[in-house]
Each structure stands twice: as structure tokens, then as C-alpha cells.
Amino acid sequence: MVSLSQTSLPTWAHTPQVEPVDPTGRVHTLVGVTGDGAEGDSPTGTAVREVVAGWQAASGSATLHVHLCADVAAGIAALEADLVSARVGHRVLVAGTADACLAVRAAAVRAGLADDELRFGVVAADVRTVWCVHCSATTAAAVGLDEDLTCSGCARTLVVYPHVSRRTGHHLGFMVDAEDQPWEVPA
């Protein structure tokens, strides 16, 4: 496998870690994606709340907007609402599982944020979302890089390529034996 530092995968997308608060920020939006359901706190939710509390304690005199959200969609909605009036000097910190962080990062990138305005606190990195190049379906699964999974859209066996789209946050997946298929030079 290629060295992961040479890929589009952030380190935190394969090894859980919590990045520190950027002390130069004037305002911080903290988004925690807890994954909590109706039945109450999940282990992920507890870990995410700990990360967010740590960031709050380390933020000094900066202004904070804290959003603990049950899922990615709510997290993105809270972030986008904050960014409407945000000024340069604003930082965004996202806590959650790696797939949730990648999805919220994609929304932040689409909104025009730069890499040096974003920090992440990842509590688990075993689930990946994989986008199929053949049918465009996205499949979420506990699968490692360079491992196979079955596409939820077309049932092809996909290999999880070590590339993540900045725009969507999904890993790239393509047919594992694509090179071995019979083919002809088109007439």
C-alpha cells in the first residue's frame, strides 16, 4: 500500500486523534456528532462530549458556538447556520467518528473554509463511507483501506481505495477485479 501521508486521507481519518484548539482563532464553532439515538447516550456520544468539553476548556477568551448534534445532517445544518455571519478569524472544530468528521469537513470545504481553519477530534475510525465509481451509490461499512465490500447499489465487489473526496467526504471504491475483465478495443 502507498504511504498514507501521500494520499488525500487526513491522518485522523485512519487513526483516531484529537487535534488541539487553534489559539489564534477569535471565534470557534464546535460541532460534536454524538450518534445518540432515542435510547440515550452511546459510547461514541460520551467520547464526543469529552472531546468537546476539552476544547471548551482550552479555548481561552475566544467566543464559542457549541453544537452537540445527534447525526451528521444536524451537525452540518448547525455549522452552515453559524457560517452565514462568520468573519475571517473563525475556526471550526468537529468531533465524532471519522466518517462523520469527513462528512462535516466536506460541508465546511464547500462553504469555503480552508484547511488551516479546521480541526478534528476523532473518537473512532473503523466505519468508512465508500462511493462506487460504477453506480454512484454510497455504502457505509466497517471496512479497512484496500479491503473489499459489496456495493449497496450495484452489488459489485469494491476495493476501498485510499482516497477521500474533499467535496463529499467519501472514500473512492471501484470494482476489485476491474483489470481482469474481458475487453476489446472499441471499433
Binding site: 468573519r87 475571517v88 462553504a111 469555503g112 473554509l113 480552508a114 481553519e117
Partner: protein, 348 residues
């Protein structure tokens, strides 16, 4: 296809220029209205279309040796005119007085007459607008307005949100009338640094999150702009600088150099590594000779050297820390504290 033959030869010329190519241009117009600043309009002798360029680009003008100039000079000047299919290039040159220590390149340009020829490089871009920006904030001082003129023109043409803040002394402002006419109420001209100090903080504190900042002017001015931005939480990726070049560097300590394992050469204080190598017959590619362009980058063997005193404006922190390259025009050897030795082992 018959339409191919109808394509104008000038259009082909404009796109076929290889990197590093030189253009020989004639002075088509001169404007000395602003005290100390000469604006030149340059064109091909046959009037053909010149290569288009990215806003913020510059050309490097070759200035011959002689008339008090010990060696050939190469001065970079921003292009202030039309950037798409231009038939002329426009530059504005502030005269820096050789009697106050300037190298004499700008003074030479101020002696040129209509119809004189000069050699320039193809346009080079080191200060381009960021396409993802939702807003472009341009902050210039004095002759530092020059790379911002093409930024402003391009942003207005493409309907991008843009604002220009310019510091120019009344009556000494090159391009001030032009940018006012172009930008209307998007342009603010301040008369002095005190007005800027009052203006800049509130301005930089209240920019929407997608804004990028571009600044050009004297070093102290840019340092102040960068410090204000940093204090207000601007991340480095949103702040873009165009340097004129380094202010006068100290002559530096003497050191020795060896090229590709060859003989050891002395580089005296006051002589640059580039000058020393040239005097010994080495051919080092170079352009600006003031630590900006990166053209004269040399490989350095860290294990056989005592460390690089970089002094350039080109390398990033990582490249500096690696210690495996140096800009021949400004970089020198660090002195090893234990042995007192200062030596670079370089490769061309």
C-alpha cells in the same frame, strides 16, 4: 480545414511561448505624470498580440551592465494593463536613486526613450487570485498598487466581490485615478500610514469568512498588514504577499563553497554566493538576484556543510528546515560554533 488558415498568426504566437522565453519589446508610450514614477507601455515591434497572463503577474526586465552598474541587473515589475490577449504590456517603475544605494536598474529605465528596445521575460505569476475566494480584499501602499491593478480589473470583469484599500500620498499616487475609475466605491485611497492604522483593524476584523487578503508595498507596511491580520485570527492561507525584494541585506560573513565535489572557493563578505560562482565560471540560472524568484536554487549536501543561512523570501519553513537547498543570490553558510568553519557543499 479552411478555418485553420484563417486563424491569425498572432493568436498562435501568443500561446506558443515556451517557459523562460524572452521577449524583445519596444517602448510605445511613456508617462511621467506622477513624480518619481514612470509608466511604460511596451509592445512587440510588429504590434502582435502578447501572451495573456494571470492577474498579479510580473515580467523581469533585463538591465545591461555599464554606466555605473557593475553587472547585468534583472528587475521584476508587475503588469498593470489588460491581461487577456494584450497587444501591450504596461509597467510602472519607481525611480530608486543610485546615489542612495540603489543598484541603478530603475534609474536606467527612467532614461529610456520612445522606440528604445528592452528584453523582458514572459510573464510570471507568483501572486495569483485564489479562485475559491468569495471575496478579494486588496491592500496596497505606494508603488505596491501595481500588482493589485490587474487583480481589481479581473475581479470586476468576472463579477467577483472585491475591495481595494490603497495608501498613496496626495499627488504621488501612481494608478490612483485609474483604479478609482475602475472600481468606484470599491476603492478607498488613504493619504498616510496613520489613516491606514485607523482603518485597517476594523476592516480586517469584519471580512466574511471566504475572503482572501492580498497585500503589496514596502516591507514595513506589509509587516504591519500581516501583523494586524494575524492578531485578528486570519489564517496564513488567506493572506498573500507580493514582495518587492529584500531590503538591503548585511554583507554577511565570509565562507567557503565547493561545487559537486570540486575545488573549495572563497566567498568574501559583501560578495554573494551567486557572484562568487559566476566569477569562477559556473553558470547558475538566475533572475531576480534578490531572494524572491527561486530561480537560482542550489542543492546543498547537509552532511558536508555547516548549515544554510537562508535569507530568501522563496522557501517555506519545511524546505528551510531540511537544509538541503539554498538560494545562491542571498543565502550564505552558517558558521559552525565549535570549529569556526563556514562551508557549503552545493550541487548545480
Amino acid at each position: 480545414m479552411s478555418t485553420m488558415t484563417a486563424t491569425s498568426p498572432t493568436a498562435l504566437t501568443a500561446t506558443a511561448l515556451p517557459a523562460g522565453a524572452r521577449l524583445t519589446l519596444v517602448v510605445a508610450a511613456l508617462d511621467d505624470t506622477v513624480p518619481g514614477v514612470r509608466s511604460l507601455t511596451l509592445a512587440r515591434p510588429d504590434g502582435a498580440v502578447l501572451p495573456s497572463y494571470t492577474p498579479g503577474s510580473h515580467v523581469v526586465v533585463e538591465i545591461p551592465a555599464g554606466e555605473g552598474r557593475a553587472r547585468r541587473l534583472a528587475n521584476a515589475y508587475s503588469l498593470t494593463g489588460e491581461s487577456v490577449h494584450p497587444t501591450t504590456y504596461a509597467i510602472s517603475v519607481l525611480r530608486c536613486d543610485p546615489e542612495s544605494g540603489a543598484a541603478g536598474g530603475s534609474a536606467w529605465i527612467h532614461t529610456l526613450g520612445l522606440g528604445d528596445t528592452l528584453t523582458v521575460t514572459a510573464p510570471r505569476s507568483a501572486f495569483a487570485p485564489v479562485q475559491l475566494a468569495t471575496r478579494h480584499l486588496l491592500v496596497g501602499a505606494g508603488i505596491g498598487i501595481t500588482p493589485l491593478v490587474s487583480h481589481l480589473r479581473s475581479a470586476l470583469r468576472w463579477g467577483r466581490d472585491v475591495q481595494l484599500l490603497q495608501v498613496s500620498r496626495e499627488g504621488y499616487g501612481a494608478h490612483v485615478d485609474e483604479v478609482r475609475a475602475l472600481g468606484g466605491d470599491r476603492v478607498t485611497v488613504l493619504g498616510d500610514r496613520a489613516a491606514l492604522a485607523a482603518h485597517l483593524g476594523p476592516l480586517l476584523a469584519d471580512q466574511p469568512i471566504g475572503t482572501h487578503l492580498y497585500t503589496c508595498g514596502p516591507t514595513a507596511f506589509m509587516d504591519a498588514v500581516v501583523a494586524t491580520a494575524r492578531d485578528l485570527g486570519w489564517p496564513p492561507s488567506r493572506v498573500h504577499l507580493e514582495h518587492f525584494g529584500l531590503d538591503a541585506l548585511d554583507p554577511g560573513d565570509p565562507f567557503t563553497v565547493a561545487v559537486d565535489g570540486g575545488p573549495t572557493l572563497a566567498v568574501p563578505s559583501g560578495t554573494s554566493l551567486l557572484e562568487a560562482l559566476e566569477e569562477h565560471g559556473y553558470d547558475v540560472p538566475n533572475l531576480c538576484r534578490q531572494g524572491v524568484c527561486g530561480e537560482c536554487r542550489l542543492g546543498v549536501v547537509p552532511a558536508a556543510s555547516t548549515g544554510v543561512h537562508h535569507r530568501d523570501l522563496f522557501l517555506g519553513d519545511d524546505a528551510r528546515a531540511a537544509g538541503d537547498c539554498a538560494m545562491a543570490c542571498v543565502s550564505r553558510a552558517l558558521t559552525d560554533a565549535a570549529t569556526g568553519r563556514a562551508h557549503l557543499e552545493v550541487s548545480l
